[in-house]
Symmetry: C2
Subunit: 137 residues, 2 copies
Amino acid sequence: MDQLMDILKRNQLSVTEGRRKILELFLKSDGALAHADVEKKIDAGFDRVTVYRTLQTFVEKGIIHNIPTTDNSILYALCKDNCEAGHHHDNHVHFICDVCDKTICLEHVAIPEVKLPKGYQQRQADLVISGVCDDCR
Amino acid sequence: MDQLMDILKRNQLSVTEGRRKILELFLKSDGALAHADVEKKIDAGFDRVTVYRTLQTFVEKGIIHNIPTTDNSILYALCKDNCEAGHHHDNHVHFICDVCDKTICLEHVAIPEVKLPKGYQQRQADLVISGVCDDCR
DNA sequence: GTAACTGCAAAATATTTGCATCCTT
DNA sequence: AAGGATGCAAATATTTTGCAGTTAC
């Protein structure tokens, strides 16, 4: 489990139990997690506030990023490559299954370029597709 | 202002002051509105709860739809054509300006098709691009 | 007149902040 | 030892629900 330490160290974060547990959760999980999921899936009794603060820290450092959702929930997912603090180059499509409600990062499906009207400058693009996933057909 | 009545009638909604005012706001507004915007921009003293319920009703009827956002806010925008209750065929790109923070529907920019992995069935796609808009350059 | 909409009050939920204490380096 | 992270308490903010009164048709 050196990957864990590695990520934290690389981002100049001190290694604490909360951070380890939460980061581990993301590494193990296949999809994206909402704040509530994190709270639920961590058995240890962490304070709600700690979860808020940890997730926020991770986002700031670029370890995780959040995924736009149509409902009002905020989903977080691990950033894979090329992410530095504040600069996400997170170019893949996110898929939300209507049936099992999981959010899956389709790492190998890139977001196509779109041609914006004159004067518009693109910084980031998020493509969220919903439907039925492979498992739920 | 018959357009207003028209929309409400077409969806079998009784025409009340709250609904008229809120719908008017959307018709006049260029971009998308958050719940908080609606509350603020309506001068009349409507109950917060009424705003919640009205927006919810409009979404159910397909009059407005919500736009995914990276932060935790929920944005609502008018559905243009082809929207019936529960079935949005809302195929255009949404642009969020980092400077003025407005959300603009790029009606003429379609969301490109993407090829999903085997077994995935697409129902809806939302593409949200952020950057700097034409006004803020 | 009836069904549906609204306002008010209150409950339930979610998020943020301050501060004292504890842990990591 | 020093700075940062955590837990707890409490302040805010957000969303939902029930019910009685009012309005649209």
